[in-house]
Amino acid sequence: MPAVQDTIDQVRKIDVDQYKYGFQTEIAMDKAPKGLSEDIIRFISAKKDEPSWMLEWRLEAYRRWLTLDEPTWARVHYPKIDFQDIYFYAAPKSTPGPTSLGEVDPELLKVYEKLGIPLREQEILAGVQKTDASELEEASDNVYKSGRVAVDAVFDSVSVVTTFKKELAQAGVIFCSISEAIREHPELVKKYLGSVVPTSDNYYATLNSAVFTDGSFVFVPKGVRCPMELSTYFRMNEKNTGQFERTLIIAEEGAYVSYLEGCTAPQRDENQLHAAVVELVALDDAEIKYSTVQNWYPGDAEGKGGIYNFVTKRGDCRGHRSKISWTQVETGSAITWKYPSCILRGDESQGEFYSIAVSNGYQQVDSGTKMIHLGKNTSSRIISKGIAAGFSQNTYRGQVSAHRKATNARNFTNCDSLLIGDQCGAHTVPYMEAKNSTAQFEHEATTSKISEDQKFYVMQRGIPEEEAIALIVNGFVKDVIQQLPMEFAVEAQKLIGISLEGSVG
C-alpha cells in the first residue's frame, strides 16, 4: 500500500466519526437496579459470592465516599454525573462462571472475534495460520496475532473468560478475574488489595472500592518470569452502565511480568462512566511492565457521547531494585483523567512512564504521572507526547518529588506537545518538589507545531507533504512507541495516525 494511502486510512480510522469498535451487541443481561446505595453494594457482593470481609470493605468505602466532594482541579469540564442514573452492575446472563470456552455464550465470543481478541487458545496453540491473502490482511488488524497472549476478557461488570490459565498455573502464575481471586486466594487479596490505592485515596478510587465489579488479578511468585504476555480486554456494552474494574498485579521477589490492557465501547449519545483502579506491587528485584492502549469511544464530531475515563493507577516499588514501567497510548474517551504513578519506596528502585495522548474532536485529556522518590538511589524517567487536534484540550500534569531521605534521587522528564489547528489547546503542568540536596531533577517541555524547516527538509527530498507530516509525527512519538510490546506497537502506530487536514497548508 502506498504510504500516502496508508496515512489517509489511518486518519479515517482515528477520526471520531470513524470509531471502528462502535458496534453494540444485543445480549441478555442481568442487571442490578439503577442507582447506588448500600443495598446495591450488598447485591454486587452477593452476586460475586464474596466473603463478608469484602462486603465490609466495600461498605466502609461507600460510607467514606458519601463524605467526599468530586474533585475539580483537573482541566476537564463535564456536566455533573448523576450517580443514581447508572447501572452499577450488568452481566451477560449466561455466565455463572463458565469453566470452558464451550460454555461461553457464542454471541459473546462473536464480540471478541469482531474486536480481534483471540479467546480460542487452542487455535493459537495449534498454530493455525491463515493463508488466504485477504485473511492475512485482516489478521494484521489483530494486535495479538503473533506470540501467545493470555487474555482475561471483561464484559461490562464481569470477566467472561480467562485463557491459558492452566499453562500459567504450571509456572506458578495466578491469572484470573479479581472476583475469582477473592474467592480462591483471599489471603493474597486481603494482603495487597488497597495497599497501594487505599479506599480513601480519592473520589473515584473510593467509589471504585465500593462498587468494583471485576478486573484482573495477577500473582507472579518469587523468581518466576511470566512465560507469556498477560492481557485484559475491557468492553463496555450495556447502555447507562458504569464500568468499575479493579486490577491487582503482584510480582514477588525477582519476578517479571508484562501486562497489556485494551478497551473499547459502543458508540452512544450518552456519556458512560469508567472508573477503574489499578494497583501494582513489585517486591525486591521484581519488574512489572504495564501497557495500555486506551480506545474507549471518544464521542462524535460534535462532542456528543463518549466515555468518561476517571482512572487511578498506581504502582508501588516496594522492594529494593524493583522496577515499574507504565506505557500508555491514549486515543479514546471523551474525558480522560488518569495519572499512572510510581511510589519508589525500595532503594535503587526505578519508575518509568511513557505516554502518547492523542486528542481530537471535543476530547479532553488530563493525564500524566507521579514519581514519588522515597528510597535511596531511586530513579525515574518520564516521556510524554501530547498531540492535540480539532477542538480538543490536552493537558500533561505530572509530579516528581524527592523526600528528605531520598538521597541521589534522579528524574528526567520530557513532555512535548504538538498542536494541529488553532481551536485546540495543549497544556503542561509539571510539579517538581525536592527536599533532598542530592536530588537531581530535570524537566523540559516544548510546544510547537510541525516546524516548517523540518517539513521543508523532508519534502525537499521528494517526499510529498502529507507523507512528510506523517513521518515527522511518527518521529515525534517514536520514543514512546519503542517501549510498547511488539504486538501493541503495531496497533499504536495506527492509532496515532492523526487528522492531517488541519496541518497541511
Binding site: 480519592n202 488553532d422 497544556h427 518538589e433 525536592a434 540536596s437 523540559e444 516544548t446
Partner: protein, 440 residues
C-alpha cells in the same frame, strides 16, 4: 493533584487531615486580626466612595478565608497556615532612610507606609502622592484584585493608604534611574506604586523593599509600558528575617515595547512575589530575570503569570535559586498563549541549587497554549553543585569552601551580567557579595 506524597509539615497535634472532605473552617488568628484591623483603620483610610466600595469588596474576600494549598495558585504557599501573626499598625515608628543602589538616582521613598511631601523633580516625569489619588478616586478602577485567588491584591486594596503615582511623559529618555523605596518600620505597611511609561520613553526603575521590623508588608506595583517604550524594572527585596512580604508586580506591555524585569529576593520570613504580565501590543517583548537567595528558615515564593494575548510577541524568563539552611523556595511560572496569539515565542527556565539537606524547593512551570503556530518551551532543574566543576577548581589549588562559593556565585551572577547597565550590574553584584558574606 490530591496530595499523595506526604502529610502537611506542621499539623497541630490531634487534628486529622481529612482529604477532600468539605469542611467550613474556623477563622484563623491572622484572618480575625486582619478583619479587626480593617474595622479599626477604616476611618483613617483615604479614598472617595468608589475607592471605599473596592475596599469593602476586598475585605469581604478576606473574610472568605486566606488561600490554602487547595487553591492551585497557592499550592506551595499555604498562606492560611503560614501567616500566623499580624502586627498592629505603628504610626509612631520611623524608618531609616537609605541610599539608592545607584548613585545619582532620583529617590522617592515611602517611609512606614507614608509618602514624602518633598520629592525630587525630574524633567519629563510627574510624581503624585498616592493618598491624593485615592482621595480623588482617580485610581479606583485599578484597585480590583486580579482574580478570586488574588489574596495579595485584596489585602492591598483593603488597606492601601499611600505610595506614588509616577507618569513618565512620551519620549522621555531618562539618564538616571528612578528609585522607589518602600521602607517599613515594623507594624503594617500597604503601598501601591502605579507607573505609566509613555510612548517611546526609556527608563530604569528600581523598586527597593526593605526595612527594620517584623512587619507585614503588602506592595503592589502597576506598570503600563507605552508603545515602543523600553523599561528596565528592578525589584530588590531585602526584608529582615522577621518580616512578611507580600508583593505583586503587574504590567501591560504595548506595541513594540520592551520590559526587562529583574527580581532579587534576599531576605524576609514569608515572601511571595507575584509577577503578572500581559503583552497587549504586537512586537512586545518581556524578559524576566530572577535571583532568589534563600537562607535561614525563609519561605520565598515567586509566582509568575504571563499572558501572550496578541500575535508576534516574545518572552524569556530565567530564574536562578540558591537554597541553604532550612529555607523553602517556590517558583511557579505559567505562560498562557491565547488563541489568536500566533507566532508567540516564549521560553522559561528555572534552575535551582539545593545546598542543604534541610532546604527544599518546589517548582511548577506551566504552559497553557491555545494557538498552534507558536514555539514555547520550559525547562526546570534542581540539583546540587556539579562535582566535576568542584574537582576542576580544587585540582587547581582552590580550597573546597572557596570553590563552592565561586561556583554558586557564578551560577547567579550570570543572570545579573545580562543587564546592559554597568552601574546597575555593579550595584547588584555588590548586593550579591553582601549576601554571600552574611550567609557564607
Amino acid at each position: 493533584m490530591p496530595a499523595l506524597s506526604g502529610k502537611p509539615r506542621e499539623m497541630p497535634e490531634g487534628k486529622v487531615r481529612l482529604m477532600n472532605i468539605h469542611t467550613q473552617p474556623l477563622r484563623t488568628t491572622a484572618e480575625t486580626a486582619l478583619i479587626d484591623a480593617f474595622g479599626d483603620r477604616l476611618s483613617l483610610l483615604p479614598g472617595d466612595g468608589a475607592v471605599m466600595l473596592k475596599r469593602d469588596d476586598a475585605i469581604e474576600s478576606i473574610k472568605h478565608g486566606l488561600p490554602t494549598r487547595r487553591v492551585e495558585s497557592w499550592h506551595y504557599t499555604d498562606l492560611r497556615r503560614l501567616l500566623n501573626a499580624i502586627p498592629d499598625f505603628d504610626p509612631a515608628a520611623a524608618a531609616n532612610a537609605i541610599a539608592p543602589i545607584v548613585e545619582g538616582a532620583a529617590v522617592f521613598a515611602v517611609q512606614n507606609g507614608v509618602s514624602s511631601m518633598k520629592v525630587p523633580t525630574v524633567e519629563g516625569i510627574t510624581v503624585q502622592r498616592l493618598t491624593d489619588k485615592l482621595i480623588d478616586g482617580s485610581i479606583a478602577p485599578g484597585l480590583d484584585p486580579y482574580g478570586s485567588d488574588d489574596a495579595i491584591g485584596a489585602l492591598n486594596t483593603a488597606f492601601v493608604a499611600d505610595g506614588y503615582f509616577v507618569d513618565i511623559a512620551d519620549g522621555t529618555q531618562l539618564e538616571r534611574p528612578i528609585e522607589l523605596q518602600n521602607l517599613q518600620a515594623g507594624g503594617q505597611t500597604h503601598v501601591r506604586l502605579p507607573v505609566r511609561v509613555g510612548a517611546g520613553a526609556r527608563a530604569t526603575i528600581v523598586e527597593r523593599q526593605t526595612g527594620g521590623g517584623a512587619a507585614l508588608v503588602s506592595s503592589v506595583s502597576q506598570l503600563v509600558v507605552g508603545e515602543g517604550a523600553d523599561v528596565t524594572w528592578l525589584i530588590v527585596q531585602e526584608q529582615p528575617e522577621t518580616a512578611t512580604h507580600l508583593a505583586q508586580f503587574k504590567a501591560h506591555i504595548g506595541k513594540n515595547a520592551k520590559l526587562t524585569l529583574f527580581v532579587m529576593n534576599a531576605g524576609g520570613k514569608l515572601v511571595r512575589q507575584e509577577v503578572i504580565v500581559k503583552t497587549i501590543g504586537e512586537g512586545a517583548d518581556f524578559k524576566l530575570r530572577g535571583i532568589n537567595l534563600l537562607a535561614g528558615d525563609t519561605h520565598t515564593d515567586v509566582t509568575m503569570v504571563l499572558d501572550h494575548a496578541v500575535p508576534h510577541t516574545t518572552s524569556t524568563e530565567i530564574v536562578r535559586n540558591v537554597v541553604t539552611g532550612k529555607a523553602r523556595g517556590v517558583f511557579q511560572g505559567r505562560i498562557n498563549v491565547h488563541q489568536y496569539a500566533q507566532k508567540t515565542n516564549a521560553k522559561m527556565a528555572c534552575n535551582t541549587l539545593l545546598l542543604s539537606d534541610d532546604g527544599e524547593f518546589s517548582t511548577k512551570p506551566e504552559l497553557e497554549i491555545f494557538a498552534d503556530d507558536v514555539v514555547c518551551g520550559h525547562g526546570a532543574t534542581v540539583t546540587e553543585i556539579d562535582h566535576n566543576h568542584l574537582f576542576y577548581l580544587m585540582a587547581r589549588g582552590v580550597d573546597e569552601k572557596s570553590a563552592r562559593g565561586l561556583l554558586v556565585k557564578a551560577f547567579v551572577a550570570e543572570v545579573i551580567e545580562e543587564l546592559d547597565n554597568e552601574a546597575i550590574v555593579e550595584a547588584l553584584e555588590a548586593k550579591l557579595d553582601e549576601w554571600f558574606v552574611a550567609h557564607g
